[in-house]
Amino acid sequence: MRHAVAGAALLAGSVTSSVSSAQYRLRADAYFSAADPSSGLLVLSGEAHKPSWLTAETVVWLGTGDHPGDVMVASVRARDPSGYIDARLGRMLVTAGAIRPVHIDGGDVKVRAPWGTTLEVFGGIPVVSNFQPRDYDWAVGGRVAQRFGEVASLGLSYVQMRETGVVTHEEMGIDAAMQPARWLDAAATAAVDLQTLALSDARISLASRFSKVRLELFAVERSPSHLLPATSLFSALGDVPSGRAGGSILWHAAPRLDVYGEGAGESLAAEPGAEALLRTTLRLDDRGLGALGLELRRESTPGASWSGVRGTARVPLSRLFAASTELELVAPDDPRGRGVVWPWGLVALRFRPFPTWEAASAFEASASPTAVSSLTGLVRLSYVLGAK
């Protein structure tokens, strides 16, 4: 039996800055988990409080032990007041159309024309953690898109990654969105691996909203071998895509009661599968500060089927305190000696004495295939500079 220490230590985060709190919002979160005492975290983030022609944004986290920390975002953005030109420089996450997000140290320039054309170009070297080897030396790409009034848009994106001069990844994406009516919204993306001229990822979603009901039809197809770097041996096994198609419905059954259901059929490398989800949320007040939730889920995957139920509650106790709890039970169809049921539960208490300070603590208990039982203490202390 693994029994982690059920105590918790407090990490204090503090932020000092000479900038005006009216211009920038700075936040510090200190997080500690007793299950892994060597991985305490201090997350510092800052962003412009109000949009301006020149803004900066940063997210830095610090850890201990195996997690010494990293800079996730450190970028400066300049844009003209009309929004026609937008340029970023530094460490950033680039999301350009249908290609996968790229985390790079580099630059990204976006130019928009009054008639709805957008041109984006980006390039840089990849962000890696802990001086690990890079998957590629540098990446360059871009996107060109055209908006057709307020009704539709169409975009074409491209990214190329090279290592020692060899192309390790080359992908082209196409994205489209359409909103012909206020109640109808459609979007689709497709990414093609240009190394093998095969579809690596495609998604489509068609959503419709009426007064109390939202319906959605969706389909996803993904080919894992094309998502790996082209230099990986496992990218050369062949094209065996997996896909799913289904629908979802959100019903505002009562002013404070929402019911969400989702079902899909799957083809996992030509083997059939299915999934179903039913979730209800009951808000305990008009603002939803307090809420109860119940979720049922069933996954029928060849060799990995399971059923689960999860209950959640969030209750404000007073102006300063709020309590929350969460309980999940998962039962695999084929336990294979990993336990018949995998329970997981959490009880948390939040204390917010001032708008700038917030503290939360929790106990998390679980049983899993790797631990017969586990009890963990969690603590978070947050400070926001510039909060109202």
Binding site: V43, S129, Q195, A236, G238, L257, A304, T312, S366
Partner: protein, 348 residues
């Protein structure tokens, strides 16, 4: 009717009333203001909301008081303040809140719509309590993309502090985790109007200190891909959606974590593979089909130098035969390009 039936009937009524209260249904007498009835009787908006046509960004809200009502309703049914029952407190609070969080002048808008208030307050006709025009209504006139998507502070005093619920953005209504990618692909600038980059990088960054749902553990309603007991479920979740893990994680993440927690065969732990995984041709030999379906899981432990394990059996002429499935095709040069040359190279 006997006594028990009466008691049960009363209990059911009480229970129904309690349920209605919990579900948010309002009892009679607490309804939205009867705007529709007034309009149908020919009462113009400015008859009650006097002065609204010249209202600027500051100043009073021009909500009518009891005295205004009594200018027509000369014989009210009681002496109480009309707003106690007619109209919802939340609607008046929302109007007061809008004065604080929005920059808006009726003064400049009323002439543009030629005094037709319903042009913007379209929901009035339906008798709803949502009187503030939706953003889509604003967009029906303010069509220039830059006005809407890149200059929030033209209308919103501070949109990120405002905590506005994006009820006009269909993406937030359903399964956000599944839908946000396909919708953000075409309209990322709309996402950026509320979300800073740290929102995206919180999950999609190369290194993530703790996923938002783990850091904000006291908010169980927050959506998250690794919610609750994900650690126990993750082998099942990975097999149920091949390739999904790879959209955020490098394949090495699996091996790093399993090595750290001494869960892999290489660290003295139990092999994750079931019996029949490896075998001579003709035996179950399940690893081939599994690798076609989930190559990224194989790469998680056997990537990099570990690929030699595969090459040993599957190089050209070796006992394992060709690992390519029927759909395989490539434009690479077999003898020189990586990774082909590992099995097809001339120096084997």
């Amino acid at each position: 009717m006997n006594r028990w039936a009466t008691v049960m009937l009363v209990l059911c009524a009480v229970l129904a009333a309690a349920c209605a209260q919990i579900l948010g249904f309002r009892p009679p007498g607490h309804n939205p203001f009867e705007h529709r009835a007034h309009v149908l009787r020919g009462v113009t908006c400015t008859k009650c909301h006097a002065g609204i046509s010249s209202a600027g960004d500051e100043g009073p809200l021009h909500l009518p008081g009891t005295a205004v009502c009594r200018s027509c309703h000369e014989k009210p049914h009681d002496d109480h303040d009309c707003s106690n029952c007619h109209g919802l407190p939340s609607t008046r609070a929302a109007a007061a809140n809008a004065r604080t969080i929005l920059r808006f002048e009726h003064l400049t808008h009323v002439p543009r719509v030629k005094g037709d208030c319903v042009r913007c307050h379209v929901d009035i006709a339906g008798g709803t309590d949502v009187l503030r025009p939706r953003m889509a209504t604003c967009g029906s006139c303010h069509q220039h993309e830059a006005q809407i998507s890149t200059n929030c502070d033209a209308c919103h005093v501070d949109i990120r502090d405002e905590g506005v619920k994006p009820d006009d953005h269909l993406i937030h209504g359903g399964n956000f985790l599944r839908e946000h990618g396909v919708r953000a692909a075409a309209d990322s600038q709309i996402c950026a109007s509320c979300h800073a980059e740290r929102f995206c990088v919180g999950c999609h960054g190369v290194t993530v200190p703790a996923l938002p749902e783990k850091l904000m553990f006291d908010d169980p309603m927050r959506a998250g891909v690794h919610r609750a007991g994900f650690l126990a479920r993750h082998p099942e979740e990975a097999k149920g959606d091949p390739g999904l893990c790879t959209t955020c994680h490098a394949p090495s993440v699996c091996n790093d974590c399993h090595t750290k927690n001494k869960l892999g065969a290489s660290t003295g732990g139990k092999s994750p593979h079931p019996s029949g995984w490896l075998g001579a041709p003709g035996t179950p030999n399940d690893h081939g089909r599994a690798s076609w379906r989930e190559p990224e899981l194989c790469a998680g432990c056997h990537g990099g130098a570990g690929e030699q394990l595969c090459v040993g059996c599957h190089k050209v002429g070796a006992v394992g035969g060709s690992p390519h499935n029927a759909a395989f095709r490539s434009q690479k040069r077999a003898k020189t390009d990586r990774p082909c040359r590992m099995c097809h190279g001339s120096n084997l």
